[in-house]
């Protein structure tokens, strides 16, 4: 077969209505070329930024998003394979790398399919149509008579041309169109079907899968020595004994930034221990009193912002409960850890005037900007390559460890330096998920429907990510530290601390206010779902309290306040599959919760059953049923896996997790002082049911279960105990205290709610 190479010029001459450009990387003129391009194509409109086809037929797809264990690589391969009409195995996917991929910001907020998946899907469809057009032009036939299949364009008479035969240099260097000829769901071969994750075989056979597994020639190992407490300063250090230890190459000190480098990894660990003992620090008491944390937070100076203000037509004075109490409640959440299983790790190499960093950052581009500022070097001289670490669940130590490695590597030009934090460094120095306080007041009308809803939240910002160098731990420790700019409150559709603070329910009056706390007594940043976990926990707990006051079933009560048909459908599905109406054994409770993540991503409803051990206060999750609508489904098993994980993680946060501290130091430094979920507490069953929505946009699902998972558990605990716990975590002590308070309350008198178990 003759090899036809169709260039852009040929294609242009064929009359294709393509916008061709010779200016590589030139941004589209704003508003000059019609509608906004889909997904991240709006950031990078050239098709070859996303897809390249070599003349040997190799297909490479590029994404600026990173694999965090959420399975995004597999889903993006499915999307590309579908529209390109090739087998998934034919695609080589390259993820976040500042030298190779588009800047898609952070891999966060359940955005990857919405942003990158949408871009790749549209780009792939347009590439397929270009290839069909090229074949049509070669054969001088109408393109509508041709189809693409298994990496080739095929004519009705059986003639075919492989993609490799149709592409030439720069063939795909064309700007994307706003409209793509997307395949219909009925024709899908890859999308919408469970596909085995492409990364799992290496992970279960000892393949090189993580940055921790990198072993570059000549690589050396560094370990950090951290201050004993936030704000501590290094007073004296005699490192002479450490420097003479076997394998030790260097002790690095820059202000309070302290590290040791050795040729062998365990040599570095031993030297770190000796260096820790040799360092004298001055510490001061800067932390709030943990037992009074909620009062401390609500007493901090706040920048107030209104998230929503919608006045009820007829503001009611409010129906009070039979016992005369106003419907009002305060909820609290402790600081919580990301607590990744693998401590943060990075490899850095300075060569000539350029730096390469391999790490598990969620944003290789923003982190590159931070490193450039920290090291005072041009960003173009830094290459950030995302290399998987263990799961991060938000902004953990990934960016910080990259800065550690870069600062050390700069002192050892030509030598790759691997830095891995120790367990206690990860637990003590990662930016925690912020502690929060929320307060809800509501009134019910005569029909038992919510009339007026008032909600306040007190919280720090939920992101202190790079960008700025001051976001990096090392930048705050060095001799001339970077000081972060004071944060300011911003109200956005997706939300931050206020994420999901506006209930999706239809209430005549809604008022939501964020008391934004600028002062950050403890460093915090993004933890999976940001404020949504706490806000949904608060809203859904209070919805149950309102339902109880209205003598309504919690599921029915929610449905009465919802118009969105997709919201109603997930609730109904979860309730049906759970068999919500069935009776439970003694000392068991059931709970229900719902949220649409960010009020614009996936819908998730969770029903669960718990048991309580009266003597110890131990709660056990027995059974969970979830229903999810995430729009068009790419990999159903991927969504199930993420939802199962989200529910169990949220359960762990809710029952067990709290960062501990005294006046000076963080004291939860490992898995014994920061306990999490273990196998003994895993439920007997956990079902996830998906609602397919062919043809609908992708709705991010990776974090959708965090809020409903924790809230359903809280409602089940309240049902089992006959008393509500409003403070996260639900420690055994809090459970026992709630039980005691419930027993001492007179029947139907003032005090905590009685169980409505008999009425359900």
């Amino acid at each position: 077969m003759s090899c036809v190479k169709i260039t852009r010029r040929d294609f242009c001459a064929s009359g294709g209505a393509l916008i061709l450009s010779f200016s590589i990387g030139a941004p589209r003129l704003k508003g000059a070329e019609g509608p906004r391009l889909p997904g991240s194509l709006s950031k990078a409109p050239y098709l070859d930024a996303w897809i390249r086809i070599d003349d040997d037929g190799a297909i490479t797809v590029f994404t600026g998003k990173a694999e965090l264990g959420q399975g995004i690589k597999t889903a993006l391969i499915q999307v590309a394979a579908e529209e390109l009409e090739v087998l998934p195995a034919a695609i080589h996917l390259i993820t976040a790398d500042t030298a190779l991929t588009v800047n898609e910001g952070y891999t966060a907020g359940s955005h990857s399919l919405q942003d990158s998946g949408t871009a790749i899907r549209n780009a792939a469809a347009q590439v397929r149509e270009l290839l069909i057009g090229a074949a049509a032009s070669h054969w001088q036939v109408d393109a509508t008579l041709l189809r693409a299949e298994q990496g080739a364009v095929i004519a009705g008479d059986g003639r075919s041309l492989k993609y490799a035969e149709l592409v030439a240099k720069e063939f795909l260097h064309v700007q994307a169109q706003a409209q793509s000829k997307l395949k219909a769901a009925k024709d899908f071969r890859s999308m919408g079907r469970p596909m085995q994750r492409v990364d799992i075989p290496a992970k279960v056979t000892g393949g090189s899968a993580y940055v921790q597994d990198m072993r570059l020639p000549g690589m050396v190992h560094a370990r950090m020595v951290r201050p004993p407490s936030p704000g501590a300063s290094l007073v004296s250090l005699d490192s002479s004994q450490v420097e003479s230890m076997p394998g030790v190459m260097k002790v690095v000190r820059n202000g309070n930034f302290l590290a040791v480098v050795a040729t062998g990894e365990f040599q570095a660990v031993k030297a770190m221990r000796k260096l820790t003992a040799a360092a004298r620090w001055s510490e001061h008491a800067s932390l709030p009193l943990q037992s009074e944390l909620p009062a401390f937070l609500t007493g901090l100076p706040a920048e107030d912002a209104v998230v929503i203000e919608q006045l009820a037509d007829a503001p009611s004075a409010g129906l009070r409960r039979a016992d005369g109490k106003i419907l009002e409640a305060t909820f609290t959440r402790a600081y919580q850890c990301h607590a990744s299983m693998g401590p943060s790790c990075a490899v850095a190499l300075f060569k000539g005037d350029a730096l390469t960093v391999w790490n598990h950052s969620q944003g290789v581009y923003p982190n590159r900007a931070a490193l450039a500022e920290l090291l005072d070097m041009p960003a173009e001289k830094i290459r950030g390559i995302h290399t998987e670490g263990s799961g991060c669940y938000g902004h953990n130590g990934a960016d910080d460890v990259a800065a550690d490695a870069a600062l050390i590597a700069r002192m050892l030009p030509g030598t790759p330096v691997r830095v891995q934090w120790m367990r206690e460094q990860e637990h003590l120095w990662e930016p925690f998920g912020p502690a929060m306080v929320t307060k809800v007041r509501a009134t019910l009308d005569a029909q038992g429907l919510v009339n007026d809803w008032r909600y306040e939240l007190w919280s720090n910002p939920h992101s202190s990510r790079p960008g700025p160098a001051a976001a990096l731990l090392a930048a705050r420790l060095i001799e001339h530290p970077f000081v972060p700019n004071p944060p300011h409150v911003q109200i956005s559709p997706e939300g931050s601390g206020d994420r999901n603070s506006v209930p999706l329910y239809v209430f005549p009056g809604k008022h939501v206010q964020w008391h934004f706390l600028k002062d950050m007594p403890i460093r915090v940043s993004a933890l999976r779902s940001l404020g949504a976990y706490m806000n949904v926990f608060s809203i859904e707990s209070f919805m149950d309290e309102l339902a109880q006051s209205a003598a309504a079933d919690p599921v029915t009560f929610r449905l009465k306040h919802l118009q969105d048909p997709r919201a109603r459908e997930v609730i109904q599905l979860a309730a049906d599959k759970f068999k919500w109406g069935n009776k439970l054994p003694p000392r068991h409770g059931k709970g229900f919760a719902f949220a649409r993540y960010k009020n614009l991503a996936a819908y998730c409803a969770v029903a669960c059953e718990v048991s309580v051990e009266l003597e110890t206060g131990r709660i056990r999750l027995v059974r969970v049923v979830a229903a999810v609508d995430s729009g068009e489904i790419v990999n159903p098993d991927g969504i199930r896996n993420q939802t199962e994980g989200g529910i169990l993680q949220s359960m762990s946060w809710t029952l067990y997790e709290s960062v501990k501290f005294d006046a000076t130091r963080i004291t939860s430094s490992d898995w014994s002082t920061y306990p999490i979920l273990r196998f003994a507490s895993v439920p007997d069953s956990l079902e996830v049911h998906l609602i397919p929505r062919p043809g609908e946009p992708f709705l991010g699902a990776g974090e959708a279960a965090q809020g409903p998972g924790g809230a359903a558990l809280a409602n089940a605990v309240a049902h089992a105990l006959g008393a509500r716990i409003r403070d996260i975590p639900f420690t055994n002590e809090r459970v026992r205290a709630a039980l005691k308070a419930n027993q001492s309350a007179p029947p139907n008198g003032p005090g905590p709610h009685r169980s409505e178990q008999s009425s359900r």
Binding site: I200, T205, G206, S208, M341, G342, N641, S672, F679, V682
Partner: protein, 158 residues
Amino acid sequence: MSIHLNVNGQEHEVTADPQTPLLYVLRNDLGLNAAKFGCGLGQCGSCTVVIDGVAVFSCVTPIMLLQGRRITTVEGLGSIDNPGPLQRAFIERQAAQCGYCIAGMMMRAHALLEKTADPTDAEIRASLEPNLCRCGTHMRILAAVKRAAVLRHESTFQ
């Protein structure tokens, strides 16, 4: 100090500080990736390997104790091209999210299945209790171990 280690049926001579935890030797001297550093404290199980049939935290086991002992890691259960029953079960059940804890889980399961060919659900849970997973993959890990028991029988039969 020079020490002989039997890892996955192969003899290795390693020169290292006798205090060195096995984990560092497996990863750096022998180039085996599966066992992971998670805590270095024997608290999380990411580093779990099997020594003479017993699941052990390799991060707190110095090599000086291991002369002549039989050490098995995930690399000894099969390869990416020819995965063993336990590996196939984890792939089949898609029992990983980030996967960092999984090699440790598999070795703990391997020790169980070598002793108890048909474990009950309660036995599987109890055996995995020392190991932590942060992604919340527990349900799939339990299902994969259960499935591995079946696949092991099939491969023995064949």
